[in-house]
């Protein structure tokens, strides 16, 4: 695991533990993707935008913004506390964040609006939108999927954090979204798939998506909920659970020793 991502994970663990917040599993699952996209395409590039549609992973983005010095430590350490602007679901009141989300199925239509504006005004840049796998059960995403294809929004890149778990059980047992690739293909999108914890693989797929001439692109990132700690990995419990002191210490050690 990238040493920076280890450090960010440790910081997130501390904040979750201190604030008794939830969603650590979902946050760890998409952290690597967020880190990569932010570092390469958002930081110091005003033409591109990133929308975190799975707003419950807001802490992942806050922590990445902190890593790149957009949010100071004092602000970050106040995460989830009374009167903090760093609320549980990502907020546009925070420096470096354009869109608040938290209700699944709302980020993609907004991202399509951003992408459309760039097309109309003939502006450069790409719109990245990270959605969760369970979020594909929301109907509004499919409205936006039709729209983006119709308007040939090739500047729109959607990334699915495919950890295969949702809040109560697996996606398969809840409402299956498979065949995911075929569904998006049928909607006219370019579809790519990669390991969502390999920055190298994500990079290759994003580059391919950026070369699209006509269609919007979707990258299915295979991820692990709770990535970085065997205690949490692939366990639905960690969608909501906040670690106890004992768990906190064990998870911390695991992250420190993760290879």
């Amino acid at each position: 695991m990238n040493k920076h991502l280890k450090l960010i994970r440790l910081k997130i663990l501390e904040l979750i533990f201190a604030s008794k917040a939830s969603h650590i599993g979902s946050i760890f699952s998409c952290l690597d993707v967020i880190f990569f996209v932010y570092k390469k395409y958002i930081n110091k590039n005003k033409n591109n935008k990133f929308i975190l549609s799975k707003g419950h992973a807001g802490l992942a983005y806050y922590a990445v913004l902190n890593f790149f010095k957009k949010i100071n430590n004092e602000v970050l350490n106040n995460y989830y506390q009374n009167d903090s602007e760093l609320i549980g679901h990502i907020s546009h009141k925070v420096n470096g964040i354009d869109v608040s989300t938290g209700s699944l199925g709302q980020g993609l239509p907004i991202a399509a609006g951003f992408a459309l504006q760039k097309k109309i005004d003939k502006k450069k840049g790409y719109i990245f939108c990270l959605i969760s796998d369970g979020e594909c059960q929301e109907g509004s995403n499919w409205e936006a999927a039709l729209f983006a294809n119709h308007f040939k929004l090739n500047n729109l890149i959607v990334i699915v954090d495919y950890n295969k778990l949702q809040s109560l059980t697996s996606i398969k047992k809840t409402i299956s979204i498979e065949p995911l690739r075929a569904k998006w293909k049928a909607f006219g999108w370019n579809v790519y798939r990669c390991n969502g914890h390999s920055l190298n693989e994500i990079n290759k797929k994003v580059e391919r998506a950026m070369s699209s001439k006509k269609s919007p692109s979707l990258i299915i990132c295979d991820t692990i909920k709770g990535k970085g700690s065997k205690i949490m990995e692939n366990k639905v419990l960690w969608h909501y659970r906040c670690p106890s002191l004992e768990e906190f210490n064990s998870i911390k050690k695991e992250i420190q020793n993760y290879k």
């Binding site: 869109v99 907004i110 459309l116």
Partner: protein, 308 residues
Amino acid sequence: MRDQFLKVLTREAKKNKNIFLLVADIGFKVVDEFKRINPEQFINVGISEQNMAGIATGLALSGKKVFCYSIANFTSLRSIEHIRNGACYHKLDIKFISGGSGYSYGSLGYSHHAIEDLGIMRCLPNLDVFSPCSNYEIEYITNYLVKSHNFPAYLRIDKSKINEEKKKKLISDIVTPRLVSKNIKKKCHIIIFSTGGIVQEVNSALSDAEKKGVFCLNYSIFNISKLSKNFVKKFKNKKILVVEETIKENGVYSFVKDNLDTNNQIHSLSINKNNIFYNAGNQSFIRKKQKISKTYILKKIIKLMSRS
């Protein structure tokens, strides 16, 4: 009123290239002129009202001034959470335009009746609600929304309207209701506040009331977000009746009650949400069934007169 709205918007969009009109597959023929003159600023998002609110959010966050148009219940109720979390939360320059408020689409049935939208939209933060009663009022409001308003708004457009007289009373400002009935020389017995197309029914009822020796004034509350303090001061210790083609909860009655002096007696003639009429009928017919038509307005006025 819809045509008047589009006429103004078409003209203004030609001057301001940041204005966008989004429609959710609604407006056969009526949006053609806008599209012809401003083709780059017109988008039919298809039958996807939630998506329309989201697309509008992205466009407005990029600096556009966006008008989203559909049938009233689709613009509002279908999209409500996207409007709340997008336009309202981010305080964006998006105007949600509802065609066919109240029972405008009477015989199409309950799915197309907009009788809860006003109260529900009024709950949303950062959003102003407008409900004109004539071409004159909608022209004024549309100009205001285009030139002087840069945060979310909801505009209800009724199919019915009043035909303005040449010597009509003009709107003094956006927060002051406008007198739409004849100005009476005798002592006024009851002040009426109404909004949208039903203003017309009130005016008809007032003519009949006058024949019975009862004199009232009817004000159109076209802005259901803010009320002028100077205007409110005029109505101390008055008998007031609010007439609206919406359910009572959080509608114009609630707005008037919140803003006027507590010494006023404020009465309501609105739709009882537990007694909704579901059969076919045109707007005028359903108003009768819901007991908010001219006849019931007159009855209510006479009843109020008999009370001390």
